[in-house]
């Protein structure tokens, strides 16, 4: 007998829930692995096993009709790397797979480590706003270099990338369409960039342009791909660094563990992402009638996979609400899973490991004096963080 569909009236995108979603996620997990969200008109997947299965079944739960929750955003996304399926999606992934893989990034290892060490050493002993000084500065340096730009491009890029993730939200949220900026501005900027020829030879951006010249992808595809790696590579990693500072301030014992045993850095990295995933969810469309743990989902229904909730599923991670840098949850879902699994995770790992190593070397204690959250539909980070690196 099929399971009755659990339902919830929680609005996952209200200010209150965005400020602290984890109690709401716990409520949803109690209701089941597939919960009908009355206010949003979609199914939420809050548990680990079901989330991984839905992400893994990319033929049933497709991305090609968009991975947000509003029609306008989903329509305009279609055909981009995040919102495409099948052969075309594989082709887009292949264009920069080499540049963004750990093998391709090998040449950047020393630069990443040196820049991380330099930045953290310069902040040690100081009180500063960790949002601009720590979290934004470092990923901007690295990602811009990777794309083939220079650090001078940072202010423009950060501005353009700023509101991108809000546009994945639901129609009902004022945040979704509320940005003052032109949503096409970032694509226009990328178009000018492509035409300018100033992307460094051999860079990821250059590889994308080459792929267009070779006829492998259309011009709009080339712009969209550059935008995808810029947008995908900034706010996410920026937020991960904010959460790193916050978690070590709130859990000094864990930071001391890292200082004593810097070899824990890889485990700390995945535990930080598990405990405080920067990007909380993406949706899929059911391309045919489907079932998740007995709950029937009709063809055409929207399904929202809650990565951050799955990461706190106690049936997967015992004592899930404990932050433990020795846990080593290597299958955590902050990077998604499956064919759409984050292609930049190798770079993110290199960046954050370099910062963790530098912090273990130069910082004795992290203090967080005050912080203000940045309320965004998908990204869970901060506007400002008054921090001391003792």
């Amino acid at each position: 007998m099929p399971a009755p569909t659990s339902a919830s009236s929680i609005d996952l995108f209200s200010d209150d829930v965005l400020r602290d979603p984890y109690p709401s996620y716990a409520e949803l997990r109690k209701l089941g692995s597939c919960v009908w969200m009355e206010k949003g008109g979609y199914y939420a997947i809050p548990t680990f096993d079901a989330a991984r299965r839905v992400l893994g079944d990319h033929r049933t739960f497709i991305s090609g009709e968009g991975v947000g929750l509003n029609q306008l955003g989903n329509q305009s996304q279609r055909g981009t790397i995040i919102a495409s399926d099948g052969e075309y999606h594989a082709r887009l992934r292949a264009v920069v797979a080499e540049q963004v893989s750990p093998r391709g990034l090998r040449s950047m290892t020393e630069e990443i480590q040196a820049k991380a060490d330099g930045l953290v050493a310069s902040l040690a002993g100081r009180r500063f706003d960790a949002v601009p000084e720590f979290s934004r500065r470092f990923p901007a340096m690295i990602v811009l270099n990777l794309i083939g730009l220079t650090e001078d491009d940072a202010p423009a890029v950060l501005e353009l990338a700023n509101d991108s993730f809000n546009r994945f939200g639901p129609e009902t949220s004022p945040r979704t369409f509320g940005s003052l900026g032109d949503p096409l501005a970032v694509f226009k900027w990328a178009g000018e960039l492509v035409a300018s020829g100033r992307l460094r030879r051999g860079s990821l951006g250059d590889a994308v342009i080459q792929a267009h010249r070779d006829g492998r992808i259309p011009a709009e595809g080339a712009c969209a791909l550059i935008v995808a790696y810029l947008v995908g590579g900034l706010d996410t990693t920026i937020t991960a660094l904010q959460q790193t500072a916050r978690l070590f301030a709130e859990h000094p014992g864990e930071f001391e563990k890292l200082r004593q045993t810097p070899a824990l850095a890889p485990s700390a990295f995945v535990e930080i992402l598990r405990y405080a995933a920067p990007l909380h969810c993406f949706s899929r469309l059911a391309a045919q009638d489907a079932e998740v743990d007995g709950v029937k989902i009709a063809r055409g229904a929207r399904v929202l996979v809650l990565f951050a909730s799955a990461n706190r599923d106690a049936s997967k991670y015992p004592d899930a609400d404990r932050f433990d840098i020795a846990r080593n949850p290597i299958d955590q879902l902050a990077f998604g899973y499956g064919v759409h699994g984050c292609p930049g995770q190798g770079l993110a790992r290199m960046e954050v490991l370099a910062i963790l190593t530098a912090m273990a070397r130069h910082v004795k204690r992290v203090e967080l004096h005050a912080a203000r959250r940045w309320l965004n539909n998908l990204i869970h980070g901060y506007e400002t963080m008054d921090v001391t690196f003792n």
Binding site: S101, P102, I330, G336, G338, Q345
Partner: protein
């Protein structure tokens, strides 16, 4: 039990090696080597093999029955 490696999906992230170094090894170029290659996974390595397959975030590894 045999490991099936989807080369197109593989990006050399190395989580398979992190989970099961007795079965998976990435070389310096990020290429994946599965021990013992084309032959069956030995019974004592099956658990490690499954852990490595499970760990791949891009689902580039799977198990084939022989």
């Amino acid at each position: 039990m045999k490991i099936v490696h989807d080369h197109a999906r593989c990006q050399g992230f190395g989580l398979c090696q992190q989970a099961a170094p007795s079965v998976f090894r990435l070389d310096n170029d990020g290429g994946l080597h599965v021990k013992p290659g084309d032959s069956d996974i030995a019974p004592q390595d099956e658990e490690a093999a499954l852990a490595g397959v499970h760990a791949c975030p891009l689902a580039a590894l799977s198990i084939a029955d022989t």
